[in-house]
């Protein structure tokens, strides 16, 4: 069917690829990645401001800058924001931009679903934050333990519904990225030739795929209990709050690896490039990542050692928790040995990567102490735990992701970020981070409880001093973040031109011009090596030293290739945006128990889905044109 005639009319497809309409209708994985990134910056600012108020309140003992109610809302929203609206979507930004480029594809498997994921993420975030204007934000901490969270005094219905909406986004993205990685690799890109970042992305998305349904169930149970009179966690009728804890942490612990594995993948790309060596023990890093993915589902109850789970469960989970430190340790050794004997370049991405390895190691070590049950019971709900997870999530995940921002900024914009400001950013960030979270180890060991609005004066002047230091650390971090933001904005406009390959990099994404052209690759490359781009640029002499390939192979990989191939790129579409707006009535309906709104939202989503299905495509029929005599069905049948 020729559908050019269908272009006009209600279901016509947008054709504009730039300007405002171009952005909101885009299905281009690169633009969606950039949109994720910019949205993350906004939410990061919000989460940072919330943490600023927390540190202001705790700067001195017995202070009342915020009421206890507002304090509870701020620390809850800080946690939710940083986990679900900053670290996870920032990883998604990298997945979007890099996965297709690294595996030699022109887009993801389902481009419109990709846009759908982004809009659901944005609207889910707006939905969560709208709670501030609608009677108060969630105030029962990011874990949302029942029955507190089903109680009328908590605003946790917004938490349950908002996080479920965000879960839809992540689940759709997980399916999309898994199919993309499994099914869209360039010829010759075998599993063991994939960049480590792609491997870690694959593991992360499988973790998402299997962990998200569990939290969806837990959150839905909360929702039913809080709004519709369910009894899942109601102790009065025999409901068991421990069930919620199990379900939450069965998601919550894999979630930890969902946040850290992408950062591990990023630094596994940056360290080899800036050490001028291949990654040490590629296979070990890959298998350690996969092992973390498996074992990550078997350690959740170490978050519940002080709950009634019994000594057998405690011992078993203590052992598995110690065991999961092994693959993590393997990775740390591999990174260290990658740098060992390399020609190191200490540019900003490298500094942040080294910062990741060292800070994450500290966080990992304090993590292993939690495996010891008596120690864990002692530290439970103290600032020691806060220190630990900030070392792995801030010192770990965020350092790695920021390294990635500096490293791939030239790929996205064609410009370099300012090195001098970058180094200022790194050193102030490192100092501010350690000043903020280092003292929390001590104040926690001295007994300072988490999630307590007022710092009790009876803990003594030492704890007060540690808290003052933490609050000063926040000021340093805030200044550092401003440097970063300035650098980011200024470099976008006035940055030095980077050229196509500023780092002399190893992986496939740098084979294309920077900034990346719309179709990614003029000709899809055929892969013959791990670190394909490196091998196109360098050969080895007899002593095993790298020597540049003399011919201009590095200059223009597409030279000499025929360009007669018609490149078919996905069309833009309004429908992902239009459809996802339906989550607003649906979500508010679930929060307020209003079946009319729920029905309206569901109808909207279904109608949006039909618009999506029947909208025409700009050129020919996207799936299996009628006229081309089909080989596809037979091939499908053969693939059973």
């Amino acid at each position: 069917m020729s559908s050019t005639t269908e272009q006009t009319g209600y279901a016509g497809r947008p054709r504009q690829r730039d300007g405002f309409v171009g952005w909101i209708t885009t299905t281009d994985h690169k633009k969606i990645g950039v949109m994720y990134f910019i949205t993350v910056l906004v939410f990061f600012a919000l989460g940072g401001i919330e943490s600023g108020f927390i540190r202001w309140q705790l700067a001195q003992a017995e202070q009342n800058v915020l009421t206890e109610e507002i304090y509870n809302q701020f620390f809850t929203m800080h946690g939710i924001t940083m986990v679900f609206l900053v670290v996870m979507p920032l990883s998604a930004a990298f997945f979007n931009y890099l996965i297709p480029l690294m595996i030699g594809a022109r887009d993801v498997a389902f481009p419109r679903l990709n846009a759908f994921s982004y809009w659901v993420y944005l609207f889910g975030g707006i939905f969560l934050y709208s709670s501030f204007a609608l009677g108060g934000a969630p105030n029962g901490s990011w874990v949302g333990y029942a029955p507190l969270s089903t109680d009328a005094v908590s605003n946790m219905a917004f938490y349950a519904v908002g996080l479920n909406i965000l879960g839809v986004s992540s689940l759709a993205a997980a399916v999309n990225f898994i199919v993309t990685i499994l099914n869209m690799r360039a010829p010759g890109m075998t599993f063991m030739r994939m960049p480590v970042f792609v491997w870690m992305a694959l593991v992360t998305n499988f973790l998402l795929l299997f962990a998200l349904p569990i939290i969806a169930v837990a959150l839905f149970m909360l929702n039913v209990d809080a709004v519709f009179g369910g009894q899942f966690f109601e102790p009065a009728t025999g409901g068991d709050p421990i069930l919620y804890q199990h379900l939450f942490w069965l998601f919550g612990h894999p979630e930890v690896y969902i946040m850290i594995l992408p950062a591990m993948g990023i630094i596994s790309e940056i360290l080899p490039v800036n050490s001028r060596k291949p990654l040490f023990g590629y296979a070990a890093v890959v298998f350690a990542g996969a092992a973390i993915g498996f074992i990550g589902f078997g350690v959740w109850a170490h978050h519940m050692f002080t709950s009634a789970i019994g000594p057998v469960a405690r011992s078993a989970f203590a052992l598995s928790t110690m065991f999961i430190a092994v693959p993590t340790g393997i990775k740390i050794f591999n990174w260290v040995f990658t740098m060992w004997g390399g020609k190191l370049r200490f540019n900003t991405p490298m500094l942040f990567s080294i910062g990741f390895v060292s800070m994450f190691t500290i966080g990992g070590l304090s993590g292993v102490t939690h495996a010891i049950v008596p120690h864990n019971a002692q530290q439970h709900d103290t600032y020691y735990v806060v220190a630990h997870f900030h070392y792995v999530l801030f010192g770990g995940a965020l350092f790695g992701l920021i390294a990635g921002i500096y490293f791939w900024f030239p790929k996205v914009t064609g410009k370099m970020m300012d090195e001098k400001l970058g180094k200022w950013h790194f050193w102030t960030w490192l100092a501010g981070f350690n000043l903020t979270f280092g003292p929390m180890h001590m104040s926690g060991l001295l007994g300072q409880p988490r999630r307590t609005a007022v710092l009790p004066g009876e803990l003594g002047s030492t704890v007060e001093l540690y808290n003052l230091l933490s609050s000063l650390g926040f000021v340093v971090l805030f200044g550092s973040a401003l440097v970063f933001l300035y650098n980011l904005i200024d470099s976008t406009r006035n940055g030095e031109a980077s050229g196509d390959d500023p780092w002399d990099a190893r992986t496939l994404e740098w084979i294309t011009p920077s900034p990346t052209p719309f179709e990614n690759f003029h000709v899809v490359p055929t892969i013959t090596h791990r670190d394909e781009f490196w091998h196109r640029k360098y050969a080895e002499d007899e002593a095993g030293r790298a020597i540049p390939v003399p011919a201009g192979a590095a200059e223009d990989p597409d030279a000499g290739a025929e360009h007669d191939e018609h490149i078919h790129m996905p069309d833009p579409s309004y429908w992902p945006l239009v459809q996802t707006l339906g989550f607003f009535p649906f979500g508010y309906g679930l929060v307020y128990g209003n079946f009319l709104l729920i029905g309206l939202g569901l109808a909207w989503l279904v109608i949006g889905m039909y618009g999506w299905i029947i909208e025409p495509v700009a050129e020919g029929d996207d799936d299996e044109p009628d006229d081309a005599e089909q080989v596809a069905p037979t091939a499908t049948a053969g693939a059973h």
Binding site: D107, F232, L247
Partner: protein
């Protein structure tokens, strides 16, 4: 966006692989609800428990649902032969059987409700209604999908050579059936036997 399966790395259509991936996630979704139900089997708070299940009735509706998998296979088979007319016939039969099952569930819920098993009666009641209700919702979505398949094959959006679309919805439908086999066994049969003992 090359949907030509010959160009995919694994030789499987993206959409089919995507459906398989999604269904992997669905298993854990139902798994979590089933565990909650098992935990609360005896937590009836003085209200009705598993003894109110009408096994013969639910067996019949379960049988209808399982048979719908057969017609689904026949629909896909017809589509692989390019026979859209027969495909539509079997799709209609499948959706009809799904509707019979759903009707049975609505009837059953009504009976239980009148016998005093309300959503807020007990953790047992909540977990029973939510688990089987979610399954019912999946059947309903399946019927919507089948209906769309029917209509879109009439409008020409789904063509005779695009049997992967029927296959994909078939995968979903079989999943919904398989999950019902688990739910029927775990929710209805095993507790009933335990009560009789």
């Amino acid at each position: 966006m090359a949907t030509d399966v010959a160009t995919t790395t694994l030789g499987i259509d993206h959409r089919k692989l995507g459906m398989w991936t999604f269904l992997g996630s669905e298993f854990l979704f139902f798994g979590a609800f089933v565990s909650a139900y098992l935990l609360y089997l005896d937590t009836t708070a003085g209200g009705p428990g598993v003894e109110i299940f009408d096994i013969p009735f639910t067996s019949i509706s379960s049988f209808v649902l399982l048979m719908s998998s057969l017609t689904m296979v026949l629909a896909h088979h017809a589509h692989t032969k390019g026979d859209l007319r027969r495909m539509r016939l079997w799709i209609l039969a499948t959706a009809g059987q799904g509707a019979v099952f759903l009707g049975g569930q609505v009837f059953e819920f009504n009976v239980f409700f009148r016998e005093g098993l309300e959503l807020s009666t007990s953790p047992f009641a909540t977990s029973f209604y939510i688990l089987t209700g979610f399954h019912g919702l999946h059947v309903f979505v399946g019927i919507l999908l089948l209906g769309s398949l029917y209509v879109l094959s009439l409008t020409g959006k789904i063509k005779a050579n695009q049997d992967v679309k029927t296959e994909m919805i078939g995968l979903y439908w079989h999943f919904v059936d398989i999950i019902w086999v688990v739910i029927f066994t775990v929710v209805y049969l095993i507790p009933e036997i335990a009560v009789l003992d």
